[in-house]
């Protein structure tokens, strides 16, 4: 069975370079500007006898569907449900990049975090403890320099391991938030169709954020009124 892998990250962090490194013969156009990939590109590679289908998603800073490219990325992850999500980040700009990582963790994806552009991070004197980051986030963290093909073997290993032993990332919030989330999840779970299509905890978080897109998803479902009762 083909393992489906999605590459996602902020614009201009090197997603397409990683894609080209992983997919033999791929000549995905690489440009040093953000917003180059506006549609998803698909390629395949084999590793240890397993076939992987890899999708290069457009860069995005968040997962709200405001712009077409962000919508492509979010819709793919929500609806196609890839087996492994590889979040490529710019290690030299880690604080901003990790915001998307947290959003992907909220989405309960089977996540692998890639710290790309480690050479630039090094040249800026950043000392990134990726082991500590991995244990704090509870997800595997791989350091790469994609333009020099460094870390690609480690990345393939991490993808293989994540595919074999899937783990849903998650973020724990403060007790008061968690209590409300738990009640919302209980309510949402009464709608079997809904929670088959979307992670209930993610829906609950987005309800608290008053996310317009989630409101649209819920509108017209009986469960929507019930969630309002929970929050009343």
């Amino acid at each position: 069975m083909t393992v489906r892998v999605a590459l996602i990250g902020n614009p201009n962090v090197g997603k397409s370079v990683v894609f080209n490194n992983l997919v033999p013969g791929a000549r995905q156009h690489v440009g040093n500007w953000p917003g180059k990939t506006v549609e998803r590109k698909i390629g395949r590679f084999n590793y240890n006898g397993e076939e992987y289908e890899i999708v290069d998603l457009p860069g995005c800073y968040s997962l709200t569907c405001r712009a077409m490219d962000e919508l492509v990325s979010r819709t793919y992850i929500l609806e196609e449900k890839p087996d492994v999500v590889v979040n490529i980040t710019d290690a030299s700009n880690i604080e901003r990049n990790l915001y998307l990582t947290l959003l992907l963790m909220e989405l309960e994806t089977n996540l692998v975090l890639v710290l790309n552009q480690m050479d630039i991070a090094d040249s800026r004197g950043y000392d990134i403890c990726s082991d500590t980051l991995a244990s704090k986030l509870g997800i595997p963290v791989i350091e790469t320099i994609a333009t020099r093909k460094k870390g690609m073997e480690e990345l393939k290993q991490a993808i293989e391991k994540a595919a074999r032993f899937p783990k849903r990332a998650s973020i724990k919030y403060s007790t008061d938030v968690e209590q409300v989330l738990a009640r919302l999840v209980d309510t949402l779970s009464t709608d079997a169709d809904l929670v088959r299509d979307y992670p209930p905890r993610w829906l609950a978080i987005k309800i608290l954020e008053n996310d317009r897109n989630v409101t649209e998803i819920l509108a017209g479902r009986p469960v929507y009124a019930k969630t309002k009762e929970v929050l009343a």
């Binding site: 800073y61 968040s62 709200t64 405001r66 700009n93 604080e95 901003r96 915001y99 954020e209 317009r212």
Partner: protein, 79 residues
Amino acid sequence: MEQKLSNLKAGEAGTVAKVKSTGQIRKRILDMGITTGVRVEVIRAAPLGDPVEFELRGYLLTLRKDEADTVIVSTEESA
């Protein structure tokens, strides 16, 4: 002293105290890392004063003036 981010001149900096916009614009501004307590420095403005480039969290961000209007910053310097 608290003032609009859009009032700062190139080279000036402030700490975000409040984001007054609402809805999608507010979400976007927060998404881009403009949250309470973050230091924002004005780098430069386009010839007509709009848009304006800022540096925060180690990266550059460009905002329209009406977006920067909604961000309230506190500045250390006494006016």
